[in-house]
């Protein structure tokens, strides 16, 4: 085969030089490993945004400032579907666990154990269900026009819709089934990620 090739077109095929591969790959993996380590210490914030998959989030306790919540709907494959959209300007979550199913495997991410909670900025979650064992709201306004919500600048619902907002919130034993989107910048101390069951 190589002989035929080289007769018709010279130097037509190539190979991977594995030493060169190592020269490129080893430093890259080292840098990536350093980034993973820094992220696991909470030194680097990472951006997370997932949509289109069922995404389960649980946390031992959520403390947030700048909280907005309003109804919305997303157009899923089975037609429009109502969601609760929660926006938190700045949140800290202890014992965070997120699991997402990508194709046949379920990835499970845990962080924020051992007294150093996960912090997240501009967290926006479209949840199809949200439960907590206890919720405390400070300075809550219920029934405000969703278009005029102001606690998390840049995020607001449809004018005329129902909305509520609060200066700060505390939710214990949070469980959220997020349907379409979660976006935010996370610092993830004590990050561990692996394949396994859901949270």
């Amino acid at each position: 085969m190589p002989d035929e090739d080289s007769k018709t077109r010279p130097s037509v095929h190539g190979k991977v030089r594995w030493r060169r591969f190592a020269i490129a790959a080893v430093p890259a993996v080292a840098i990536a490993g350093t980034l993973v380590g820094l992220t696991a210490q909470g030194a680097i914030a990472s951006s997370i945004s997932v949509s289109g998959q069922e995404f389960l989030v649980t946390a031992g306790q959520l403390n947030g400032t700048g909280f907005e919540q309003f109804g919305g709907q997303v157009t899923g494959s089975g037609g429009p579907r109502p969601v609760i959209i929660s926006a938190i300007k700045s949140a800290s979550l202890s014992n965070l666990c997120q699991s997402v199913t990508v194709g046949p495997v379920t990835l499970r991410l845990t962080a924020g154990g051992g007294g150093s909670p996960v912090t997240a900025d501009n967290l926006v979650v479209d949840a199809s269900g949200q439960t907590g064992s206890e919720a405390i709201f400070h300075n809550i306004t219920i029934g405000q026009d969703a278009g005029t919500l102001s606690e998390d600048p840049g995020t607001a619902g449809q004018p005329g819709g129902f909305g509520q907002q609060a200066d700060s919130i505390t939710i214990d034993n949070l469980v959220q089934h997020t349907w379409l989107t979660t976006a935010g910048t996370f610092t993830l101390p004590g990050l561990s990620i692996g394949f396994g069951g859901s949270c």
Partner: protein, 209 residues
């Protein structure tokens, strides 16, 4: 030549697997933040995704572009390979922990394969060998290729460069294509020129100076 042979020839004449891995990494990175939009047409969600989603999509698209360019323009494989590696590393903080590691790893491996790929000269006739070796030195070996490559007449070079040929042989022992070269031991002067540059260069230098 059948279609299958042409396909195989096309694959082998470029860093095909490196490019494929880069394209797959890019698709994966794009799919996680955007599958709701692409699958369900929920354009309004982009508003909520925000800057994280933008970075994820941008990195993914650039990775796809780098992979395709590895195929159509393999001459610049070093650039596209390094770009793919860098994008893969950046994707870790910028896009869902590198697509939950999968996209990041695929980009690093694909980029490194693209970077490490090099054409093999398999000269059927010794006369052609010299010409090919001269016009296609691999990028890294260009500097040191002058030493073993300069003696254009291989017969004299074979004697003077015997020690070099030994070090090269020891270095390049792993690639499987070597048997062909070993058989053509008559022209050791030309073969090293096409061999992997950096490793050979490092070992040749202490011997020379």
């Amino acid at each position: 030549m059948t279609r299958r042979e042409r396909w195989r020839g096309w694959r082998r004449s470029r860093p095909f697997w490196g490019g494929l891995l880069l394209v797959l990494a890019g698709l994966e990175l794009v799919a996680i933040p955007l599958s709701g939009v692409l699958g369900h047409g929920a354009i309004k969600l982009v508003i909520y995704i925000g800057i994280g989603g933008v970075f994820g999509v941008l990195i993914g698209l650039l990775l796809i572009a780098a992979g395709i360019m590895l195929w159509v323009n393999p001459v610049h494989r070093v650039f596209y390979g390094i770009a793919g590696i860098a994008l893969g590393i950046v994707s870790f903080p910028a896009s869902n922990l590198g697509g939950f590691f999968l996209g990041m790893l695929a980009a690093i491996v694909g980029g490194a394969i693209g970077f490490a790929w090099a054409p093999v000269e398999a000269p059927p006739v010794p006369a052609a060998a010299g010409a090919i070796a001269d016009e296609e030195p691999s990028a890294g070996s260009g500097i040191i290729a002058g030493a073993p490559g300069d003696p254009a007449d291989e017969t004299s070079g074979a004697d003077t460069f015997t020690p070099d040929a030994d070090t090269f042989g020891a270095d390049a022992g792993r690639p499987e294509e070597e048997p062909a070269d070993a058989a053509g031991a008559g022209q050791p002067g030309t073969e090293p020129a096409g061999q992997p540059g950096p490793g050979a260069g490092l070992s040749a230098r202490p011997a020379g100076r």
